[in-house]
């Protein structure tokens, strides 16, 4: 077990006769010893390329990769001491599930009895004890995926890489296994990097999440940081379900003090949110100047209904059994709100809306960088 350090790692795919593709752009990332990190992003964002460079199936175009004290980016995969679970499972077809899982241990001259015991242990954790004597082509894809996971999790490698580890599992099983796998990894202090496009999975499994888009690391932080302090517009819109309400806006100096004038998609003025007084949020008044173009964002969970100065029209009102999703039109802006209790009343009619200043996020209109989270200035 060891920490992993990516320093300025870049991957450019050059195909003859085609434009070079920048898959990973100057990625800096440090994963602590025993830490679980999720690489999260849509397809083509560079997360799988990153994983394959760490494993050694792709050469980094530039940059260095260190695992513990060793620089591993020039080593062949066999000498990196890494375990990996593949998205396509990649099981050995002629070997039984049992032999597939214990393969690396047997080769590492572990006593047969110990291998049997450990295979039994990991199989029980992943609920594949009943198929240990079957061959990979005869089991379901979910079972193949768990076999592939077991083959990686059984090893005492310095680093464990999991590529979309639970994509083929049924939802109930997935929820159970997430918790068990997390326990397994933390109990053994296994340094882990996994790739997923499912943010629920990332949040449930990871200590920290690296959000990637178009080859660039957007933000690397704990799930709470990503939720409460998104570094830019992309992360703000990407993380969270339902996604953050985001609108273009302008800072204006009213008769009653500075405010944020939010615009609808059509560009018309929709509603205004006054800035808190200068003594409560000095930075806000210092940094924002009238006429400045920004993006205004607020999470659906932070919107308060039934109080406040704003008034909107309810467009939709859905009770999901444990929360309400409410669509509200405020001056041409569609605002989504989530409340823990059902909101009474029909789909029509007006409703009072409060957008608390402490929950407001402001982003630069030019580069999307976060300016403020609530009343606090966004960090670098």
């Amino acid at each position: 077990m060891a920490g992993l350090e990516l320093d300025n790692v870049t991957k450019i795919y050059r195909m003859r006769g085609k434009e070079p593709v920048l898959a990973v752009d100057r990625l800096d990332m440090a994963v602590g010893d025993g830490e679980i990190v999720g690489l999260l992003g849509s397809s083509g964002c560079g997360k799988t390329s990153t994983l394959r460079m760490i494993a050694g199936f792709e050469d980094a175009t530039a940059g260095t990769i260190r695992l513990g004290e060793r620089a591993i980016d020039r080593l062949p995969p066999a000498r990196r001491n890494i375990a990996m679970a593949f998205e396509g499972y990649a099981l050995y077809p002629p070997l039984r599930v049992r032999e597939n899982i214990g393969f690396a241990l047997l080769r590492g001259r572990h006593p047969r009895g110990e291998v049997e015991r450990r295979v039994g242990q990991v199989a029980e954790m992943l609920e594949i004890t009943d198929i240990l004597d079957r061959y990979p082509p005869t089991i379901s894809s979910g079972q193949q995926q768990r076999t592939s996971l077991a083959r990686a999790l059984i090893r005492d490698a310095d680093l464990h890489l999991l590529d979309e580890p639970m994509s083929q599992l049924e939802p109930q099983l997935r929820a159970i296994l997430r918790a068990r796998i997390k326990d397994w990894l933390t109990g053994r202090r296994m340094t882990t990097v996994f790739v997923t496009h499912d943010q629920t999975e990332a949040v449930a499994l990871a200590d920290r999440i690296a959000v990637m888009e178009q080859g660039v690391l957007q933000q690397f932080g704990t799930p709470a940081e990503l939720r409460d302090r998104p570094a830019n517009l992309f992360v703000a819109g990407f993380i969270g379900e339902p996604p953050m309400n985001l609108y273009p806006a302008e800072i204006v100096a009213d008769g009653g003090g500075p405010a944020i004038a939010v615009q609808s998609a059509a560009g018309a003025a929709a509603f205004r949110v006054p800035l808190p007084p200068a003594d409560a949020a000095p930075a806000l008044h210092e940094r924002l100047t009238p006429g400045q173009q920004v993006h205004f964002g607020i999470r659906p969970h932070k919107v308060r209904l039934g109080t406040g100065d704003l008034s909107g029209t309810v467009l939709s009102n859905r009770w999901l059994g444990d929360q309400s999703h409410i669509g509200i039109d405020i001056g041409g802006c569609l605002l989504t709100a989530v409340t823990p209790d059902p909101v009474p009343g029909g789909a029509d009619g007006t409703i009072a809306v409060d957008l608390p200043a402490a929950a407001i996020n402001l982003f630069d209109a030019e580069d999307g960088r976060a300016l403020f989270h609530g009343l606090q200035e966004a960090g670098p």
């Binding site: 195909m15 003859r16 494993a55 050694g56 199936f57 062949p76 995969p77 066999a78 990196r80 890494i82 375990a83 990996m84 593949f86 998205e87 396509g88 499972y89 990649a90 099981l91 050995y92 077809p93 002629p94 393969f103 690396a104 080769r107 590492g108 990979p136 082509p137 083959r151």
Partner: protein
């Protein structure tokens, strides 16, 4: 009921059609086998008849190398030709496998400068007429001392066998998920071990099919050995020319020679069948 009767009729029609097609393709072979047990007189009788007194004379003549014709006795070396065919075809396929499998793997797994061009050039050997290169080759071979040697012919046979093996096996390698190899490498193995223990065994059905096909093509080759060798190294395809004698064409011996020359490929096909079927069942694993 209606449905059942119809499907029974359909089955019957299908059976009849299949039998017809089978007869159409197998009849020449059947006829050749019959001819190999007939004397020349029986063969040339009009109208031809299915009833005759079978004779082993044709086979005896081939095996003893003594051909008795109306104008006298003639020495032939058909058994020698058969042996040459075996040596040439086996050695050519073996050499092609040795060279072609690693090359196919490289073409399947790696992109490199001029890679596609090299692969296509190798394929183009298959559709360029061999006569194009034969005369210059003959001159070089005589200079180099390769004329009339096994080594020389096996070398030239690579034009036939190598492209076939390379292109067929390449397709099989491309169908194997590279991640299986990656998994093996992560488990602590080098690329050579991965190639030998994972890639080659998984492509074995393709290799068997390609080898069989290459063997048949090599076996059936005629012009290379006709021009680049003497009867010492010539295969059955060239050797059969000896049956066109001054006193006429020895149909009986030709037929017997054909039957003998079919046997090795037949045996090989039956042996390779196991791997070919295995290839079909492995298809379920992919992906």
């Amino acid at each position: 009921m209606q449905h059942h009767r119809q499907s029974a009729i359909a089955r019957a029609i299908r059976g009849v059609l299949l039998t017809l097609v089978g007869l159409f393709f197998l009849f020449p072979i059947f006829w050749v086998v019959l001819m190999s047990f007939q004397t020349n007189a029986d063969i040339l009788r009009t109208p031809p008849s299915l009833f005759f007194t079978p004779t082993l004379d044709n086979y005896v003549a081939l095996i003893t190398g003594q051909l008795d014709t109306a104008v006298g006795s003639l020495k032939i070396s058909y058994m020698r030709n058969l042996w040459n065919s075996l040596v040439l075809s086996s050695a050519s396929v073996a050499l092609s496998l040795l060279l072609g499998i690693p090359a196919a793997y490289a073409f399947a797994r790696y992109r490199f400068r001029l890679g596609e061009n090299i692969a296509f050039t190798l394929l183009s050997f298959r559709f360029a007429p061999p006569l194009l290169v034969l005369l210059p080759l003959l001159l070089y071979f005589q200079d180099l001392g390769l004329y009339d040697t096994y080594i020389g012919l096996v070398w030239v046979y690579q034009l036939i066998t190598l492209p076939l093996i390379l292109w067929i096996v390449r397709g099989y390698f491309e169908d194997i998920s590279p991640d299986i190899e990656h998994a093996y490498r992560v488990d602590g193995h080098g690329w050579l071990a991965t190639f030998l223990k994972i890639a080659v065994p998984l492509a074995r059905p393709g290799i068997a099919a390609a080898a069989l096909l290459a063997f048949i093509f090599a076996w059936n080759n005629f012009v290379f050995a006709l021009i680049l060798g003497s009867s010492d190294v010539q295969p059955v395809t060239v050797g059969a020319l000896a049956f066109i004698t001054a006193s006429g064409i020895q149909y009986g011996q030709i037929a017997a020679g054909l039957v003998l020359s079919m046997l090795p490929t037949l045996v090989l096909a039956l042996l390779a069948q196991r791997y070919l079927v295995e290839g079909l069942s492995l298809g379920a694993v992919k992906g």
